[in-house]
Amino acid sequence: MKAFDYPEIFDVAVIGGGHAGCEAALAAARLGARTLLLTQDLDTVAQMSCNPSIGGVGKGQLVRELDALGGEMAKVTDRAMLSCHMLNISRGPAVHSPRAQCDKKLYQFAMKHALERQGGLLLVQDEAAELLTRGGKVSGVLTARGTRYRAAAVILTAGTFLRGLIHIGLRSFPGGRYNHPPSSLLSKSLEGLGLRLGRLKTGTPMRLHARGIDFSKCEPQAPDSPALPLSHFTPAITRRLLPCWITRTNAKTAAVISAGLGGSPLYSGKISSAGPRYCPSIEDKIVKFPHHGAHHLFLEPEGFDTEEYYVNGLSTSLPEATQIDIVRSVAGLEKAELMRAGYAIEYDYCDPRALDYTLQSRAVPGLFLAGQVNGTTGYEEAAAQGLVAGVNAALKVRGEAPFILRRDEAYIGVMIDDLVSKGVDEPYRIFTSRAEYRLMLRQDNADLRLAGHGFRLGLLGPELAPVFERYRAAAAELAEKGKTKAVLPEEGPWTLAKARATAAVEKSYASYIKRNQADAERLKKFEHLEIPADFRYAHIKALSNEARQKLEVNRPLTLAQAARVPGVTPGEVQLLWVLLEKGSKNER
């Protein structure tokens, strides 16, 4: 088949229509870039392949940040919400995190519609087969059907599709998601461009039919009332929400699992890739914590118009026969019907240490990577990277300065810094414990931290900018003096009541935040001190062996990053500082 050039030339081409791809395409198009979104299947755009929920501890903060930057995820979640809870409410406001269960189909369609309505964004159903380059730079994408899309920048958001391999018991077959073919051509193309690929593993639990669940034996988990929208821009959630249900495993469950471990691809050694420790399979939990009598299970509806239930807490790759026994050992699930089996999936990811802070490949200019392909896990982590990659691809094409968030500004900044400076050895999930400025990075002040960027970049419409500025001034005044004369609208994202609430939180943390800010301020100086890529640590005798080795491996980009490398002492940071300054003065 002869390839043909698509008639138009794009600024940005996005490969993949998952959570990263959608945000990337929307962000790029909103910045005025002529954008293409290429996906294997337009009917599975923004598919929630695993759990039906958005948010969670740390993740909820990410979603609020994304929303404050003009991302789409929170708005779509509000449109598809079927249950919601503010998590960690018994703890302090810094770790309050929203989480919402969604109707999966509603979510997909709402996102697809948002993509379709976005000016300057073309959606195409085809599989990317090869990245095209010219002179070492990205020049476009060649599809499986033989179309060449020319683009100045390409954003790869391949999720778990690169050489995806699904395991159920000891059976395995290729797939990017159950019943969806993997992307087998692209990995070779990436390797050809010099990207380092590795393998990771993740998994998903089984789905059950509602009629096989005895809800009277489960404990209802009512949705919060009133339901709080995730988006700053959703006035209210008015539809009736559904409860989730709680049950727990027992000694019999543990016995079934122990007896069935022979059929486990994890314990038989068939899967050797690292899986996420915080999202363990049920067999992992039973093996590692044998003394835990019971593990909580949450039964979450997959939608308003479906009988399917997601069993949160029973992720497994044991054989299907064992899965049925496991489920039926649980109170309330004795007569459960398995509609879809749980499975594990192995896939290729690209080492994120090969990226810069804009998520652009350092080896292949113009190629950006976002989402699970960078070794992360979670819809929220993917979406946040998508937005950053989309914005930066558009800025690069326009020849403008990159958009980089710092660790003291956003969880997004924490995540990207972690990824590009430390890499991953298991799928990366955000945690509040990863944020050294946790008390500053809250869901209630995501807008104060980031909406300014949203307006400046053009991701948020200019009509709200004046209100936001008044809100920001009012919140600052309230935190400082306890009162304000500012006048704000009664409704909408930025009211006086919200400013008061945020100011109260800020005040309760004031002394701690002050210290955090001083630390952050000091750190800024060092963020600007770049370490040349060819910097040779081996020659610096005064470094300890441990520090030298770790710095050689991690190759920090800035002195601030070097200081974050475990085992590097202040004296050594100081020494590096002098050597760097000396190097730059020599050049001048």
């Binding site: 501890v57 590692k288 050294e436 202040p570 004296g571």
Partner: protein, 455 residues
């Protein structure tokens, strides 16, 4: 994060330790003037550039020294920052007290080469000079590595690491709850948590005390005078001291206790411990106690002056004194034999011994010279160590303070875990000055090892 902070005020001895009658202590940083004003009078809070003043240094009501201070305003100083140079008398006691006062008033002990680093960063050095800076800090760091090797690489390092592990473990207790989306983990066991915190704080303070107990530069060297009864120990002490500090009497066994005095020779402080004679025929309980104390003093000494009456033949007590001194001497301590009463006819021969006479003053200069040389060596070897010790002491003290705040917080009803975590993070950051950064991944690893969290 273990980052150098050029906004802190640093202090250090700017002259080589112990070489002259005068010493210069330099303070630099945005708070240099206010720090100096806190312990000098009359205080110069906003001095004119290049102001020179005679100032009293006081530790509370006590006058420590009369000094000359020179004030330099930024940027026209060596470092480019506000700087105070205080010229004081060169006694290690005075120098140490001044440094302590500066630290108590908010300065931090400077790391090797830190003044030069600031000068360099503020553009005060040209490129050729700057070339040397890296080497200076490198050698400082190397020397620091060497000086601290025994402490930091060995058992001390293991102990600091143990502190860190314990702190990480406590932090994981909190973070596991804070990051638990499903609130499945049982609440923190407050009593056990407080017990572990208290234990960690205690160990941190114990370790800090170890750093402070480092000897040499802070205290001067310990010299002990020992020997058989009536061998002239107290007379020698008095002669060196210049006044009658010890009771001298021709009756043997007069000095039943140890006497401790500080003597300054060439600007060095030497701590003399005159000991009760090691009497072979000791009987009474009082004398036995005196001998026990003498033995202890000998075992802690840097220099042992072993005295023998040169005008009398060798006695069993002399032999015992020599044997005991040899047995008790600490490794590295110098044993110097002295034959006293050189003005009387000699009854014993010992080529290596110094002959002294308190009556004529013969040999006293030789004893002083030996003491000065030994003191210099202690300073040389320990020149880098005190800096390391001071910084480690500060790091451990900072960690202990954070743990104290953690205790206060956790004793409250329904303590805020996210704030408790801030204090543990603070403690780990303080320890980071010794071990480097604690990565969040270390805490996460502990969580996953010990808690069944996640879905």
């Amino acid at each position: 994060m273990p980052l150098p902070d050029t906004d802190r005020t640093i202090v250090a001895l700017a002259t080589p330790p112990g070489t002259g009658a005068l010493a210069i202590i330099r303070l630099s940083g945005p708070g240099a003037f206010s720090t100096a004003a806190a312990f000098t009078s009359p205080p110069q809070r906003a001095p004119a550039h290049r102001l020179v003043r005679m100032l009293d240094v006081r530790d509370g009501p006590r006058l420590i020294d009369r000094t000359v201070a020179v004030f330099f305003r930024a940027p026209a100083s060596y470092t480019g920052q506000d700087t105070v140079e205080i010229t004081c008398h060169g006694s290690p006691y005075i120098v140490r007290t001044l440094l302590n006062l500066a630290v108590r008033s908010g300065a931090v002990p400077a790391a090797p080469g830190e003044f030069t680093l600031r000068a360099f960063l503020n553009g005060k050095l040209d490129l050729a000079q700057a070339e040397a800076v890296g080497g200076l800090i490198a050698s400082g760091t190397e020397a620091a590595h060497r000086a601290a090797l025994a402490q930091v690489q060995g058992t001390m390092s293991a102990r600091v690491r143990a502190l860190k592990t314990a702190a990480v473990r406590l932090l994981a207790e909190l973070e596991a709850r804070l990051d638990d989306s499903y609130e499945e983990t049982a609440p923190v066991a407050a009593a056990a948590f407080l017990r572990d915190t208290a234990a960690l704080k205690k160990e941190t303070l114990a370790l800090a005390a170890g750093f402070e107990a480092g000897r040499g530069i802070r205290e001067g060297i310990r010299v002990v005078i020992t020997g058989a009864p009536n061998s002239g120990k107290s007379s020698l002490l008095n002669a060196l001291l210049g006044y009658d500090r010890a009771i001298v009497s021709p009756e043997a066994g007069t000095t039943r206790d140890t006497l401790e005095v500080t003597l300054e020779i060439h600007g060095f402080s030497v701590i003399f411990t005159d000991t009760a004679g090691l009497n072979a025929a000791a009987r009474g309980p009082l004398e036995t106690e005196g001998i026990r104390r003498a033995a202890k003093a000998v075992s802690e000494a840097d220099i042992i002056l072993l005295l023998k009456d040169g005008s009398a033949p060798l006695t069993p007590s002399d032999k015992l004194a020599r044997r005991r001194a040899g047995e008790l001497a600490a490794p590295g301590a110098a044993l110097i034999e002295i034959l006293t009463k050189a003005d009387l006819p000699a009854k014993v021969r010992a080529a290596a011994a110094i002959r002294t006479s308190c009556r004529t003053g013969a040999g006293l200069a030789a004893v002083r010279r030996i003491l000065v040389e030994k003191q210099k060596k202690v300073f040389r070897d320990g020149a880098e160590a005190p800096v390391i010790f001071a910084r480690h002491f500060e790091a451990l003290g900072g960690a202990a303070a954070e743990l104290g705040r953690l205790q206060d917080l956790m004793k409250k009803d329904r303590p805020k875990l996210e704030l408790a975590a801030e204090h543990l993070r603070g403690a780990l950051e303080a320890l980071g000055a010794i071990l480097g950064e604690t990565a969040p991944e270390e805490v996460l690893a502990d969580i996953f090892r010990n808690f069944c969290v996640g879905k």
